[in-house]
């Protein structure tokens, strides 16, 4: 009788664990910043645009990522003149393109050396919608951190099918991804 009870209880517990444990959707680009164990890594970034709206979008996205975790932080300022990492704009007349991120690695390693994240100013939603700008800036900075794209239907800023007007800050899955990539 006791054995039976233990067996049933264990089965129920295992089932509860299976159904409640969250499934991670995040992916990695395969590259990361050279964070040292036990310390916070800072990525120095400068503006490559003078437009206040686009600067504000990246300011918000930087705050969103910095407030979401303390493993790795962006420091965005026009005073960081020597850094090669920039945030700015591109002018590409493809209406489906919101922005892009290009990153370069240290030769022979998987260490990111610098990146360029841009918003596409020929996309009318980027021009007219504050939250879409913030969402796109956050997505591009996610790539800069080392996160890859996430397939739908997951709630993640790294999901390209997201509604950019309602999902404009890093979500749990995105934050878990960064914490996993820079675990120590």
């Amino acid at each position: 009788m006791r054995k039976k009870t233990v067996l049933i209880t264990s089965t129920i517990l295992i089932m509860i664990l299976c159904f409640t444990s969250s499934v991670n959707a995040y992916t990695f680009t395969g590259q990361r910043w050279p964070k040292v164990i036990g310390s916070t890594y800072t990525i120095y970034v400068k503006y490559a645009t003078s437009n206040a709206n686009y600067r504000a979008a990246f300011d918000s996205a930087v705050s969103d990522w910095n407030n979401a975790q303390d493993k790795i932080q962006f420091s965005l300022s026009s005073l960081h003149v020597s850094t090669l990492s920039t945030v700015g704009v591109q002018n590409v007349d493809d209406p489906s393109l919101f922005g892009s991120c290009t990153w370069h690695w240290v030769p022979g390693t998987n260490t990111i050396s610098y990146f360029q994240a841009v918003l596409n100013t020929y996309n009318s939603d980027i021009v007219n919608k504050t939250k879409t700008r913030r969402s796109t800036a956050g997505h591009e900075l996610g790539h800069a951190l080392g996160l890859g794209h996430v397939d739908p239907p997951y709630n993640a800023i790294m999901n390209s099918s997201r509604n950019r007007e309602t999902l404009y800050t890093p979500q749990k899955d995105d934050i878990d991804g960064v914490k996993a990539l820079y675990a120590l």
Binding site: S100, P107, Y122
Partner: protein
């Protein structure tokens, strides 16, 4: 006498080692090990693989067929497209009829500077699929801002009607990466991220009738 010979042998050996080391250092300086540079390009598009999402992104949805190639067009910053004329048979969303011009984004030119030289690679864009003039298409479009052409509303944006029993979403599958060798024999590996069509495609395999029915249904919902 023996002691002096021994000293000479040691001295000679040391001199040989010294000369060898200097030679090696010189050789390594002249011919350093090749370095591999990496450049990764990741664009953020409106992505959808179902009719609801494609209609939601679009200002215009039309069916018809491509007529002919018109020109290559730089959409800005070395992001190249091919412009085709397209004869509209039916307009589901937006006020368009007759012949329109449609830009199909083709490739982006990526650059990396190494030792003062700029190296370039042409990588295909996710929406590139060369139109088949013999087949009808349903296109999901928006207007470009700087030219009187229509561009993609989403990735993908073309549904090819292969037969009346089968339609297929079209996206790029070729020329995703390139490796270029520099003058100093270093390599630069350029990579452009594409769309995992298989994981989002809810359209390929539908019949033409079902495709048209669902497009009309979603357009009606959008216009409510």
């Amino acid at each position: 006498m023996i002691k002096r010979d021994g000293f000479r042998i040691i001295l000679f050996t040391l001199l040989c080692f010294g000369a060898l080391s200097i030679g090696l250092i010189f050789l390594l300086k002249e011919n350093p090990a090749p370095v591999s540079y990496e450049v990764n390009y990741s664009p953020d598009y409106a992505v959808s693989g179902d009719i609801r999402g494609l209609v939601a992104s679009s200002d215009y949805v039309v069916s018809g067929h491509y007529e002919k190639f018109i020109e290559n067009w730089d959409m800005g910053e070395q992001y190249m497209s091919e412009v085709y004329s397209f004869i509209v048979d039916e307009s589901f969303l937006g006020d368009v009829n007759g012949t329109i011009h449609v830009a199909v984004p083709h490739y982006v030119l990526l650059e990396r500077e190494v030792d003062g030289e700029t190296y370039q690679a042409k990588l295909n864009l996710p929406n590139y699929s060369k139109p088949d003039f013999e087949k009808p298409y349903v296109l999901f479009l928006k207007k470009a801002q700087t030219k009187d052409v229509f561009g993609p509303a989403s990735v993908p944006f073309q549904v090819e009607i292969t037969t009346s029993d089968h339609v297929a979403l079209k996206a790029n599958t070729a020329n995703l990466e390139q490796t270029i060798t520099t003058k100093k024999k270093d390599t630069i590996h350029f990579y452009s991220e594409q769309i995992e069509l298989a994981s989002i495609d809810r359209i390929t395999g539908l019949t033409k009738a079902k495709l048209f029915e669902e497009v009309k249904e979603q357009v009606a919902l959008k216009q409510r």
